[in-house]
Amino acid sequence: MTQYHKKAQMSMVDLFMAISIFIILISAIALLWYNYKAKLAGDFAYEDLQVKAFQVSDLLVKSPGNPSKWEDNISSLGVIGLAESDRVLSKEKVEAFENISHSLGVKTLNLGEYNYYFELDSANGGLHPNGDIIFIIKRYVIYEEQEKVFEFTLWK
C-alpha cells in the first residue's frame, strides 16, 4: 500500500517536470519566431529599397524622360530622365529636376512611400535623408563634359 502511494507521487513530479520543459520550449519557440519575423521583414524592406533605388537611378542616367524635352514644360512631365544620351546628363534636365517639388518627384518616379535625395556636382534636390532605412547609390556619369558622380539616395 505504502509503495503504491509513493509511485503515484513520483508520476506527478515527472509530469510537472515535463510540463515545465514544455512551457520553456514553447516560450523559446515564440521568441525565436518573433525575432526571425522582425529580421526577415527588415531584410525585405531594405532589399525592396535597394532594388527600387537601382531601377530609378538607371532610369535617371540612361533615359531622357517623357516627353524628351520635359524640362521645357514641367506641366507635361510624364517620366523623369536626366540623360541626353546614355550616362551623359543634360544640365537643363538636372536643373529642372533640382527645382521640382519633392512630392512631384516621388509621384513621377513612382516611389510610393519612399523619399529621395540626389547630388550631382553643385546641384541637389529632394529631401535630406532622415529615416531608419537609407540606401545610397553612386552612378558615374558625364556632366558638363566632365566625369562626375551622381549620388542618388532613397530612404524611408
Binding site: K7, D14, M17, A18, F22, D43, V88
Partner: protein, 146 residues
C-alpha cells in the same frame, strides 16, 4: 505466491520518468530541426546577395569609355589608362572587346591584363559599340572589389 520484483540498482530505485524522457526526445528533435532550418535560411540569404553596386559601376565605366571613344581605339594601353582614371579605387576591372565586320568575320580583339580572382564576387556585363562604318564590337567587363 510471492511476486518477484526486479529492481534496478539505481539511486532513485525503480521509479519511472516516462513524461520527462518523452519531452527530452522531443526537445532534441526540435533543436535539430531548428538548427537545420536556420542553416538553410542563412545559406539562401547568401545566395541572394548579388552585388548590384559593383555591377552598375562596371556598366557605368564601360559607358564612359564608349562615350569618350576610348573603346573604339581598340588600344589596350589607352583603355587601361582611361579606365583607371574613371574607376573608383575600391574596384579592379578587366575589359575584353571583340570586333566583327559586316560579313561577320572577326576584325580584332583586345583584352586588358588583369587576372580575374577566383575567391570573390565578380560582376560582369557587356556593351555593344560601333567602331566604324564597317565594324561593330562587343565589350565585356569583369569587375570586383580589391
Amino acid at each position: 505466491m510471492r511476486n518477484k520484483r526486479k529492481f534496478l540498482n539505481l539511486h532513485c530505485g525503480n521509479r519511472g520518468i516516462i513524461f520527462t524522457l518523452d519531452t527530452f526526445v522531443a526537445v532534441i528533435v526540435f533543436v535539430l530541426l531548428l538548427g537545420l532550418s536556420s542553416y538553410y535560411i542563412g545559406l539562401s540569404q547568401g545566395l541572394r546577395d548579388v552585388d548590384l553596386p559593383t555591377i552598375r559601376t562596371g556598366s557605368d565605366i564601360l559607358a564612359l569609355l564608349d562615350h569618350k571613344n576610348i573603346l573604339q581605339t581598340m588600344n589596350v594601353d589607352s583603355i587601361e589608362i582611361n579606365r583607371d582614371n574613371a574607376l573608383p579605387d575600391l574596384y579592379d576591372m578587366k575589359i575584353k572587346a571583340d570586333c566583327k565586320d559586316s560579313s561577320g568575320s572577326s576584325s580584332g580583339s583586345i583584352e586588358t591584363l588583369e587576372a580575374i580572382p577566383e575567391d570573390k564576387f565578380i560582376g560582369s556585363g557587356k556593351r555593344v559599340f560601333v567602331k566604324d562604318n564597317d565594324n561593330y564590337c562587343i565589350a565585356r567587363f569583369f569587375i570586383w572589389t580589391k
